[in-house]
């Protein structure tokens, strides 16, 4: 479904389904990108589709970090990092890797490694 959605964006609209870029575009934080209305439509579609799927499945189980500070810090770093690195799991990981883009393959390997190290360090420090 995720790959199908990204394929629909590419073949239908000629755009990369990169969530970080589209989110920034939707709220006016990016100069480049599709017309804002398209970015807004895609971004609104995410929770809509998630909600419909949760209804169909009779609920999905989610476990968030309980600490608000954790969410705030992580959110800030994810927002800044995805803009600096021009993409996240969807844009680099799904769209770019399947295009065999050198930049996207490098970015994906780096953020995966960085995430693995972060979780390992947090476990060692007893933070999770």
């Amino acid at each position: 479904m995720i790959g199908g959605a990204a394929a629909l964006m590419l073949l239908g609209l000629g755009r990369i389904a990169g969530v970080s870029g589209l989110a920034a575009r939707a709220v006016g934080l990016a100069d480049a990108g599709p017309p804002p209305v398209l970015a807004i439509a895609f971004i609104l579609g995410l929770p809509l589709g998630g909600w419909l799927m949760a209804q169909a499945l009779g609920g999905v189980s989610l476990h968030f970090p309980p600490n608000i500070a954790t969410l705030l810090i992580a959110g800030l770093v994810v927002g800044f990092g995805t803009r600096l690195g021009s993409g996240c799991t969807s844009g680099h990981g799904v769209c770019g890797m399947s295009r065999f883009s050198r930049r996207s393959i490098s970015a994906t390997l780096i953020f995966m490694a960085s995430g693995v190290v972060t979780v390992a360090v947090m476990n060692l420090m007893g933070l999770s």
Binding site: A6, G12, A30, G45, L62, C88, C95
Partner: protein, 152 residues
């Protein structure tokens, strides 16, 4: 209108896929990243599964002159590896590991766990705003001084 509906449909399909696959669960994502601990590799198949239709889509794209519902393809053409890409990916990975959330699942979760997801998404947009402020300040002076360059 057709384009807007198509974008909405793509977003909904994407969000549904995230909810179905478990990518929307931060604990499951952290479990996927925890390869030295209680590793849960199932999300690797989600990523692999997404790469297959996209790989086919790129093959089709190479044969098309225009997209099916737009005038032209607007695709990134940069190939250079630079410090921005590397630094951004390192930072993103840290945030991803800390909370188990990347942008797609976080926005999808606004409908599934509104309170926590809202805090994360708000902070994420603040981080994007911070990046914009910093990069607009570091614009070369001659560009800023050029007449009419102020504003958009």
């Amino acid at each position: 209108m057709k384009q807007t509906l198509l974008a909405l449909l793509a977003g909904a399909l994407f969000g549904a896929g995230l909810a179905l696959s478990g990518m929307s669960d931060p604990a499951k994502v952290r479990g996927f990243l925890d390869i030295f601990g209680a590793w849960n590799p199932t999300l690797m198949f989600v990523m692999g599964g997404a790469l297959i239709p996209m790989g086919i889509a790129w093959r089709i794209q190479a044969k098309l002159r225009t997209p099916l519902a737009a005038e032209r393809f607007n695709l990134p053409d940069t190939t250079k590896l630079d410090t921005k890409l590397i630094g951004g990916a390192v930072l993103f990975g840290i945030g991803w590991g800390v909370a188990g959330l990347c942008p797609g699942p976080a926005i999808t979760d606004l409908a599934l766990a509104p309170r926590s997801a809202f805090v994360f998404v708000l902070a994420m947009l603040a981080g994007m705003g911070l990046f914009r402020i910093i990069t607009s300040r570091s614009t070369p002076a001659n560009e800023v001084k050029a007449p009419g360059a102020i504003g958009k």
